[in-house]
Amino acid sequence: MSHTLLRNEPGFGWMLLCSTAIHLACYFLLVEFHFPPRPFKEGPVYYVDVVTLPVANPRAGTPSSPGRAPSGPAQQEMALPAKSSLKASAKPKPPNQKPATSKETARQFEERMAKIERDVDAKHHSAALDALQKKVATAGNGGQTGMPGAKGTEAGSDYASYIRSRLTDAFRTTISFQTKNPEVMVRLTIDRAGKVVGLHFERSTNDRIFEDSVRRTILKAAQTFPPPPGGEKFEYSYRFAPEGVSKK
């Protein structure tokens, strides 16, 4: 008796294998049906142009009235396919479909189906718009999109980098020095109108010619400075040094 029972016992390994397989199957079923893959949350996209000069109006800024969510695109502008007809044409007729009892009945059926599909599409469209508006409204900067604090006319980079690009361009035409490793750290203050109102040398290797070339650089570049974003005063430090000269 005991011999028979022992021979019919599948054993611990077999039981463990079965149990694992069943658990895995249950897990994947649960994941598939109860936890559908979450949609990827898209944040605002920042385009930073670090190579070429910023374009004049990259449309990278915020809407003109901060805090207000942008209106959604007009429905008629969306390139929606003629779904009812597409779907109707996409549905192959069964080869052995029985002819309708009457032409009137078939037409009514198609109209009813098209109406149902239009309603479904409209609901999907409406839901998508709601989701978009909700996402925009709950995004950072109180619903603003694009470059933080920007107004829609700024270059495709942050303001400090933009100023650096202007300074670098001017520096190429003014750089001059008389010592081996000149270096100047300048604290630059730009008022809300884009005018340089502060120029403080925080650190310098005391190369007078280099300091003057930096001053000339800033004055030259300042002609092209736009107002800082957000209507605020801008203050930042820039370290000027000849290219290729080792930093101390």
């Binding site: 950072g140 933080p148 604090g149 942050d158 303001y159 400090a160 980098s161 650096r164 300074l167 670098t168 520096f171 190429r172 035409t173 003014t174 750089i175 001059s176 020095f177 008389q178 750290m185 005391n206 007078r208 010619i209 003057d212 070339s213 000339r216 650089t217 004055l219 030259k220 800082p228 957000g230 605020e232 005063k233 801008f234 203050e235 930042y236 430090s237 820039y238 370290r239 000027f240 040094a241 000849p242 290219e243 290729g244």
Partner: protein, 427 residues
């Protein structure tokens, strides 16, 4: 989550945060020379004197071209300018020509009195940087122009130029080696000695008012001191043997020189009256050509104690001798820069000499000349330039160059043999 994201953003990208810590690098290649425009000198009282105009222009151009930081532009906008004061002329043509700086000048002659007015402008800012008016004898025209060029250097580089300094040198233009004095650019030559003998190795006192030199006028090479403004001369060392290569200490109170009174050439210290203070070297070798460090703490000199003449450095009391030059079989005539960072010397190569510069720690040994045979290097008082004698043009002549060896220019006039230049402080 949003707060964490923004915090991380602020930390990782300081450029996005206005008025915060951090900095951005701004770099550019090259080292551009400042474009200096020189406007033609204007008459301030109506009378025209083309010679004055030309001479002023020549001096300004020579000084500023040699200076290094500037590229002198040729007369853009010149004749259309109506005046030299701010508001009297238009910056636009100079700005269009790419000028960074502009020198405007005017003159007024009244009898033998010359009034010169100079103004230096920043073209981009359209702003006056420095303005000076000088009045003097018309003979001092070049000196006045050099004086303003010193002011330009002060305004632009933070340190005055050496253009009002004089160069004392040895010339055999009369058939004998006499000591002469000239402007640094070779003009206004004055003869200092008239003994018909051999006079060598002039050296200016730190205040530029007197020189010491070695003369054979009493047959023995003795050391003399001469006051330039009075012409008074004093014999300060006539010890047996040589009394040569005298060099004033930076404080002007001591003189290091080579004497052989004790047998072979050794370096001694004497005071300006000739009293011996100390013997600095004591060995069987020849020790010559002492050169003071600018702080007076060290002396560089030439010695053949290792078999060939090499440059050594010792403390001003003679202790702590160490070898400076390790290359070349014959190195001589060291001269310490006024800033103390470089030492000039001559190295024999082939049939002639070339001028080298080396750091006091023996690093950075660099050859500065490449043409002809070049000797007797001396620094300008600001350390920006070097004067030396060269045989590259046939007869030995006085040349100038920048401290990096660039801009080598002959300043000797005529075909006489000129050598042993030494550059005084500003007069």
């Amino acid at each position: 989550m949003k707060k964490i994201f923004l915090t991380l953003l602020a930390i990782l990208s300081p450029a996005l945060v206005h008025g915060q810590q951090g900095f951005l690098d701004v770099t550019a290649p090259g080292n551009r020379q400042l474009q200096l425009g020189i406007s033609a000198c204007k008459s301030l009282n109506g009378g025209q004197n083309p010679e004055i105009v030309k001479e002023i222009d020549d001096v300004l151009r020579f000084d500023m071209t040699l200076a290094g930081p500037f590229s002198v532009m040729s007369g853009t906008g010149g004749n259309n300018d109506s005046g030299i004061r701010p508001g009297d002329f238009n910056f636009a043509p100079w700005k269009a020509a790419g000028a960074d700086l502009l020198v405007k000048s005017g003159y007024r002659v009244s009898g033998s009195t010359l009034t010169l007015e100079f103004r230096l402008y920043d073209v981009f800012k359209e702003k006056e940087i420095v303005a000076k008016r000088y009045t003097g004898n018309i003979r001092d025209l070049r000196k006045i122009a050099h004086t303003f060029d010193d002011q330009i250097m002060l305004a632009i580089t933070g340190e005055k130029g050496p253009f009002t300094g004089k160069i004392a040198f040895v010339s055999n233009r009369t058939g004998n080696k006499e000591i002469y004095l000239m402007d640094y650019d070779g003009y206004n030559i004055q003869r200092l000695t008239r003994n018909g003998s051999i006079n060598l190795n002039p050296d200016f006192s730190p205040n530029g008012r007197e020189i010491i030199y070695t003369s054979y006028k009493r047959k023995n090479p003795n050391l003399y001191r001469r006051e330039l403004f009075t012409g008074t001369e004093a014999l300060i060392s006539a010890r047996r043997g040589v009394n040569i290569t005298g060099a004033y200490s930076p404080d002007g109170k001591r003189i290091a020189l080579t004497m052989s009174k004790d047998g072979n050439s050794e370096i001694y210290l004497i005071d300006t009256s000739g009293k011996q203070l100390a013997r600095l070297t004591n060995n069987q070798a020849i020790d010559v050509s002492p050169a003071w460090s600018p702080d007076g703490s060290h002396i560089a000199f030439t010695s053949d104690r290792l078999g060939h003449p090499q440059i050594f450095i010792m403390n001003a009391d003679g202790s702590g001798v160490r070898r400076l030059t390790t290359s070349g079989a014959y190195n001589d005539r060291p001269r310490w820069s006024p800033k103390g960072d470089r030492i000039l010397y001559c190295r024999m190569e082939g049939n002639g000499f070339h001028i080298y510069a080396i750091n006091p720690d023996s690093s950075g040994d660099t050859r500065l000349t490449s043409e002809g045979s070049n000797e007797h290097p001396r620094w300008s008082p600001d350390g920006r330039f070097i004067t030396f004698s060269s045989k590259r043009g046939g007869k030995e002549a006085i040349y100038l160059m920048r401290a990096d060896g660039s801009g080598q220019t002959k300043v000797s006039r005529g075909n006489a043999g000129d050598s042993h230049p030494t550059w005084s402080t500003r007069w």
